[in-house]
């Protein structure tokens, strides 16, 4: 299975991910993509921007383990994960998860599981700019529930 895991300040392209998955992983019939973007409000406050940090080395390894787990559960042709770090503005892309598989159900499930794990099990930290200053964001309890549901 082809895999590419990147943590970078730069933006990404979905079209390029589509081309890469097709080129690297044969002619898979189903490709699922998820993109998370910076919202302009959160918990009833206006968000002016987001600052993202990671734990170099450890975060990459965790993403690798998450992709391993997806590859163990489903027949996948390729997985691409790109996670941005640094300063981002509302509307900016944060994360891309792209999965190709022969069957679309597997592409959907793997893409969603990777996202759910990434929300709770990867060492990223997010600082939001709000009118009063800034605040660090914790993962929501709903995210914990979603991630745990895959283990059931």
């Amino acid at each position: 299975m082809y895999r590419s895991i990147l943590i970078q300040p730069e933006d990404f392209s979905l079209d390029r991910a589509l081309t890469d998955l097709k080129a690297q992983s044969g002619l898979a019939g189903g490709l699922c993509f998820f993109t998370g973007a910076v919202r302009n409000s959160n918990l009833d406050e206006t968000v002016g921007g987001l600052y993202l940090e990671h734990y170099p080395g450890m975060t990459e390894r965790q993403l690798d383990l998450i992709v391993d787990e997806a590859a163990r559960r489903w027949q996948l042709h390729g997985v691409i994960v790109v996670h941005r770090i640094g300063n981002l503005a509302p509307g900016d892309n944060i994360v891309l998860v792209a999965v190709s598989a022969s069957h679309r159900g597997e592409a959907f499930d793997a893409c969603e599981m990777i996202m759910d794990y990434l929300k709770t099990n990867a060492t990223f930290w997010k600082k939001e700019s709000i009118p009063d200053g800034h605040r660090w964001i914790e993962s929501r309890s709903s995210d914990q529930v979603k991630a745990t549901a895959w283990d059931a």
Binding site: Q62, K119, A122, T123, F124, E138
Partner: protein
Amino acid sequence: MGQSDIEIMLEAPTTVGALKSMIKLPNGASLSEASLTQTIMAAVDQEMVDDSAMVSVTSEVAFFPPVTGG
């Protein structure tokens, strides 16, 4: 995350929990005291662990607040 790197010389292997009580925050409280009111996660050699995990004399240990990606 507002915390800098520190080096602690261990004479013998210990646990993450014991290490937490050795580290003082700027306000004078130890990390183990702080962890009563807030979530403090730990990694040893870049692997997520709990307080019972062993720390060797050459370990890289990290303490950090809750994580959220995506």
